[in-house]
């Protein structure tokens, strides 16, 4: 069935918010501010999407915040687009186009859209693979929607980070592999922590691996180890967890600089381990600006070697 759109104005009091089934908006705080600023400056420019309701009334399908603002400032007329003869699939297509015309959907909104659309229309994700998922910015396979579906099913307080991008979707991939209790515990312990998304993802991974390794729930593991995320930042918390996740590596990472410092090398000579100490082959770097300086550096290193002051490095070598 081909949908028809009639444009007109309507009294906000005649527009009824029938139910929430069509709502998939999950704006960030910044989105809220932008909307309020725009409405305050220009009023309601984008028409509300409606379908015919009882009598002369219209049932709202998109534009709840615009309608609420119009009511709050006492507007007598708002622009509306009335959809007629619109099948469920096409209605949802219009809703998506309308939302994307305004701003890009965030991951929570993409997930909510898919949840609500499939619940309303009975469509499977598989049926949406070829057209709808790509329109949502996902690849054209049902499994590509798993992360956004997961974040959209989180308790509201945990959705915001995924909506505003401070929590990366890759972390969702890790978290949905954990039990619901563990994933919520990770989100709780990291709640409000700010930092790079790679570091956040790494923290999620090592937290889960620590709890799995020790065979206890994440909440219990965090409590047992006395980790208090409120007293630290993300980076400090990650460092504490990392030391427990990689105890042998961490010991080496702490001991190595001390061993190098004890060697008494010139300030322009440094020794660097390979990543993760893998391979046991080290670099000794010298910076110099004259050949005399190079000569002096080499002599000093040789002296330190002969004095045995580099002996503590032996433990780290291949």
């Amino acid at each position: 069935m081909v949908g028809v759109r009639h444009w007109r104005t309507a009294d906000p009091r005649d527009v009824i918010v029938a139910n929430e089934i069509f709502s998939f908006s999950w704006p960030t705080a910044a989105d809220h501010r932008d909307l309020q600023r725009s409405l305050g400056r220009r009023g309601v420019l984008r028409p509300l999407l409606c379908v015919a309701g009882k009598g002369s009334q219209l049932a709202l399908v998109a534009g709840g915040r615009r309608l609420a603002w119009a009511g709050s400032v006492g507007l007598k007329a708002v622009p509306v687009a009335v959809l007629e003869d619109c099948g469920p699939g096409e209605l949802w297509g219009r809703l998506l186009a309308d939302a994307q015309d305004h701003r890009p959907l965030n991951p929570v909104e993409v997930g909510l859209y898919l949840r609500r659309r499939t619940a309303h229309t009975g469509e499977t994700l598989g049926a949406l693979e070829s057209e709808v998922l790509p329109a949502l910015g996902l690849s054209s396979r049902a499994a590509a929607a798993e992360d956004v579906l997961w974040v959209s099913g989180l308790p509201p307080e945990h959705r915001h980070g995924f909506a505003d991008g401070s929590r990366p979707l890759h972390a969702a991939r890790l978290l949905r592999g954990a039990s619901p209790e563990d994933s919520l515990a990770v989100l709780a312990v990291t709640h409000g922590l700010l930092g790079g998304i790679n570091k956040f993802t790494d923290l999620v991974r090592i937290l889960l691996e620590c709890a799995w390794r020790d065979g206890v729930p994440v909440a219990e593991w965090v409590a047992t180890h006395g980790l208090d995320s409120t007293a630290t930042g993300l980076e400090a918390l990650r460092e504490q967890v990392r030391r427990r996740r990689y105890p042998h590596l961490s010991r080496w990472e702490e001991a190595f600089p001390a061993a190098v410092a004890g060697a008494g090398l010139p300030s322009r000579v440094s020794i660097h381990p390979p990543g993760g100490f893998e391979g046991g082959r080290y670099q000794c770097r010298m910076t110099f600006s004259t050949l005399d300086e190079l000569h002096q550096n080499l002599l000093t290193v040789l002296e330190r070697l002969e004095e045995g002051r580099l002996a503590p490095l032996q433990e780290f070598l291949a």
């Binding site: 592999g177 799995w212 020790d214 100490f277 893998e278 291949a318």
Partner: protein, 350 residues
């Protein structure tokens, strides 16, 4: 023949007329239902007899940056009836059935063509995507393979298993270019993490019987799992082997520590919860695979090297599986040149 490790057989119509299919169905127990469908069944309790549309043969993919051993793989089977905790198939292909490729005539053609292209001796195995002998009582693959390589002394066939199914080997005169190989782990580890496999003592007994029949044997300590008490457990394991098998019957021994594909623990760690030995200080290497922290692995290799040399002396061919030249240097005090490992392991072949 051991307990039947499958409870249904589905034959792809495209594979129905192959002689392998007829022989396999003739060996199947009568109470296992057989149906015909081109739709692959799910799960490793099902057998799917089908055609291999591509190549049966390929070089072992190995890993970038590690010392290669020049292995080639021939795969008439995909999937394993055993359920080892650490096996990549368990995670990589959890729902794949035991897939038997019936067009062995094509495999023979590919093999003979490849043999002409190989320059010098080659080690060939069937144990990358399957256990070489676990299903042999029903597939008869070992007998077929022995017949295939008999005329090619430059091809060193390795049948690698965690089973004790060696009847096909014992039914024929031993071939000098066939090596029966066992993956070994301490008995307690076999019991806890290698479900469905033969016990350690059964594997060693099978190795003795094959060695007495004139075959050479090989052993793979892979994966060495660095859990609590690992050192005593693996030293004991080598001593058990030493008390059972004469080193002059041993073609080679490999050692490899536990390693996982990238992101393995992120994805599958939950299923290993409480098994601290599978987490360890597992770090990504230059090839992306997760391996134990360098000095922990190095210690394991040195311990194994020491015990193996005590048993087999300096002549015993020991190699590290998927390890860097630096680890070879650190363990054996030398770095093999390109192709050197393959040459040592195939010495005297052909």
């Amino acid at each position: 023949m051991s307990v039947v490790p499958f409870d249904r057989v589905v034959v792809d119509p495209a594979a129905a007329d192959y002689s392998f299919t007829r022989r396999f169905l003739g060996r199947c127990p009568g109470d296992v239902p057989v149906s015909e469908s081109h739709i692959k069944p799910r799960g490793r309790r099902s057998v799917f007899v089908t055609r291999e549309p591509g190549s049966f043969l390929k070089p072992c993919p190995c890993s970038p940056g590690v010392v290669r051993c020049g292995y080639w793989v021939l795969s008439p089977v995909f999937q394993c009836p055993f359920q080892c905790s650490y096996c990549f198939l368990r995670f990589y292909a959890p729902e794949e059935p035991l897939t038997l490729y019936a067009n062995l005539e094509d495999a023979e053609v590919q093999f003979r063509k490849q043999v002409r292209e190989w320059d010098g001796p080659v080690r060939l195995g069937t144990g990358e995507f399957a256990d070489s002998l676990a299903l042999d009582g029903w597939t008869g693959h070992a007998d077929w393979l022995l017949g295939l390589v008999a005329e090619y002394p430059q091809v060193l066939l390795e049948l690698k298993t965690k089973s004790a199914e060696v009847s096909a080997l014992l039914a024929r005169p031993a071939l000098p270019n066939v090596v029966a190989a066992w993956s070994l782990n301490p008995g307690a580890r076999v019991a806890s993490d290698e479900r469905g496999t033969a016990s350690l003592s059964a594997r060693l007994a099978a190795a003795v019987s094959v060695a007495e029949a004139g075959y050479r044997v090989a052993f793979h300590f892979d994966p060495v799992v660095l859990g609590a008490g690992w050192e005593d457990a693996y030293r004991d394991l080598v001593r058990q082997l030493a008390a059972t098998v004469a080193p002059d019957r041993v073609a080679w021994v490999s050692v490899g520590t536990l390693r996982f594909p990238p992101h393995f623990l992120e994805r599958w760690g939950r299923t290993l919860a409480g098994r601290s030995e599978y987490f360890d200080d597992m770090l990504p290497g230059s090839d992306g695979k997760l391996r134990s922290f360098w000095p922990l692995r190095r210690r394991a290799y040195r311990v194994m090297e020491e015990e193996l040399r005590r048993w087999g002396g300096s002549e015993l061919p020991v190699y590290l599986c998927m390890e860097s030249p630096e680890m070879w240097q650190s363990t054996f005090a030398y770095e093999p040149a390109e192709g050197e490992v393959a040459a040592v392991l195939t010495r005297g072949c052909g």
